[in-house]
């Protein structure tokens, strides 16, 4: 992964130029926490620099030296180098001894984790960085059918001279994203999950979900592609606290067997 980002570091910022709506959201979270903030997969500092400019200290972790070099330069140019502590490392084993009130992992970076076990390791690592009552906030996506149909296998000019192509594999739930600039092409995989699967991983990582938003304006999640999780470190020894099954009546159709073809019996039933 570090190799990949080393390759795209030079044009990462132009490529992601149109992504701005998350910045204000994460800055608000950082200011509300009082800091310091650990940003996992800090990249080029696209979010860390505005947080630092808001007066909050940031510890930024990334596995790509080239991305960190870009971030360092950005921090210097913004005059906030003393507020941003950049460290080379893996987000599953972040080189952070400090305990902080807020950890963030913006821009779908957790989806670089290929398996659920790796995602769980990353969540547990984030949890371990938090002081009592601290929060871990991150965003991910799960594509809609329309999204897949509109973009699958097509080179689209995302920014002038920078093309992006999405190849979706719904079976393995992997998006292979390719970025082309001049004559270099770089590809990487993003491995998505559904909301219920994230809720399960968060529960197992002892992170209680405070909110699931559908966008950075904090609208509630309602089945859209983007999901933003605001979670809080569960107090040790209070596993059940904050974990309450919804006490509304169950839906009781008995149609489970009808929903799915009995493929094992009649071959492909439909």
């Amino acid at each position: 992964m570090s190799g990949l980002y080393d390759e795209i570091a030079s044009f990462y910022d132009p490529w992601s130029r149109s992504v701005t709506e998350d910045v204000g959201f994460y800055v608000d979270e950082a200011v509300a926490s009082g800091g310091p903030v650990v940003e996992l997969a800090v990249g080029t500092g696209r979010i860390a620099v505005p947080i630092a400019r808001a007066g909050i200290d940031v510890i930024g972790i990334d596995s790509s030296p080239a991305m960190l070099a870009v971030a360092r330069k950005a921090a210097e140019q913004a005059g906030v180098a003393e507020r941003i502590d950049l460290r080379l490392g893996d987000l599953r084993e972040p080189p952070v001894a400090e305990r902080v009130p807020l950890a963030i992992c913006p821009f779908r970076s957790l989806l670089h984790m290929e398996t659920e076990d790796e995602k769980l390791r990353a969540l547990r690592a984030a949890r371990s960085l938090l002081e009592v009552g601290g929060r871990f906030v991150f965003d991910v996506f799960s594509p809609s059918r329309e999204d897949i149909e509109e973009t699958d296998g097509r080179w689209l000019e995302r920014e002038p001279g920078i093309f992006e192509r999405a190849d979706w594999d719904e079976g393995s739930r992997t998006l292979t994203l390719s970025v082309r600039s001049d004559d270099s092409v770089t590809s990487f995989g993003l491995h998505w999950l559904s909301v219920p699967e994230w809720l399960r991983l968060l529960d197992q990582a002892a992170l209680d979900v405070e909110a699931v938003y559908g966008w950075f304006d904090r609208r509630p999640y309602d089945g859209e592609e983007d999901m933003i999780f605001v979670t809080c470190a569960r107090k040790r020894g209070t596993r059940e606290r904050g974990f309450r099954a919804r006490k509304r009546p169950l839906k009781r159709g008995r149609l489970a067997a009808a929903v799915w073809p009995h493929a094992q019996r009649g071959g492909d039933a439909r």
């Binding site: 719904e170 559904s194 399960r200 169950l250 067997a257 929903v259």
Partner: protein, 229 residues
């Protein structure tokens, strides 16, 4: 969230279930190995519980949250069953069970992880040491979902399916306007539930004939148990 009218589904249940029969001998065999009380979750009309009770020659405890379903079960085999109107998430037994089972993918009516975790923990607490919890559920496949999504189907009663993949949910809308939802789970989610409830996997089959579960399997058939000291 759509409003559900479960009683409307109860009257049609036998027609939906008419082609599901392979599960009965599987659950009967588990019950015959059970040395203690046997409990069926979401007992419904007693389709599985009645043959099970006959085979083991004792009453099966049947739990369901639908009075209309329980009425049907009572008429079909009331003397063979100990029927209880309850939400399975609040399962409590006077006496620990040797077998709790949930056929017909009924666990998928629990909306996602939180409800399921509660249920698994309750079941685990209600079992004897070495007692079993068995259930089956479909294994999601995106190609099947893509084919069925939005398509109206006439049989067994006219209905349309809508898949919300990001939420692992499928909504079943009858032409009459009644709706119901299911939330599917992956193998990893089932393993997570088994782990948090302190259960052990005894077997994962791909169908009721006990073939091993593999990449082509479209059904999870799980047999788990509580640890023995």
């Amino acid at each position: 969230m759509c409003v559900s009218y479960p009683e409307a589904f109860a009257t049609h249940y036998e027609r939906w279930a008419a082609d599901m029969t392979d599960d009965i001998p599987f659950y009967v065999a588990l019950a015959q190995e059970a040395d203690g009380p046997v409990v069926e979750l979401a007992v419904g009309t007693g389709r599985v519980a009645i043959p099970v009770a006959r085979a083991i020659d004792r009453k099966v405890i049947g739990i369901d949250s639908s009075p209309a379903m329980l009425d049907q079960a009572r008429q079909a085999g009331g003397d063979l069953l100990d029927l209880r109107l309850a939400d399975m998430r609040t399962l409590e037994l006077d006496e620990p069970a040797a077998l709790v089972y949930c056929p017909y993918r009924a666990l998928l009516h629990l909306p996602a992880w939180a409800d399921r975790r509660l249920l698994f923990e309750r079941v685990s607490e209600a079992l004897l040491p070495g007692g079993r919890f068995a259930w089956n559920a479909f294994a999601f496949d995106h190609q099947i979902a893509a084919r069925l999504d939005g398509e109206r189907q006439a049989e067994p009663i006219p209905h349309t399916l809508r898949y919300s993949v990001g939420e692992s949910r499928v909504d079943i809308a009858l032409d009459s306007g009644d709706t119901s939802s299911l939330w599917w789970a992956t193998k990893n989610e089932w393993l997570g539930l088994i782990e948090v409830a302190g259960l052990e996997v005894e077997a994962l089959y791909g169908w009721f004939d006990r073939r091993p579960f593999d990449d082509d399997s479209r059904e999870f058939v799980w047999v788990t148990r509580t640890p023995t000291p």
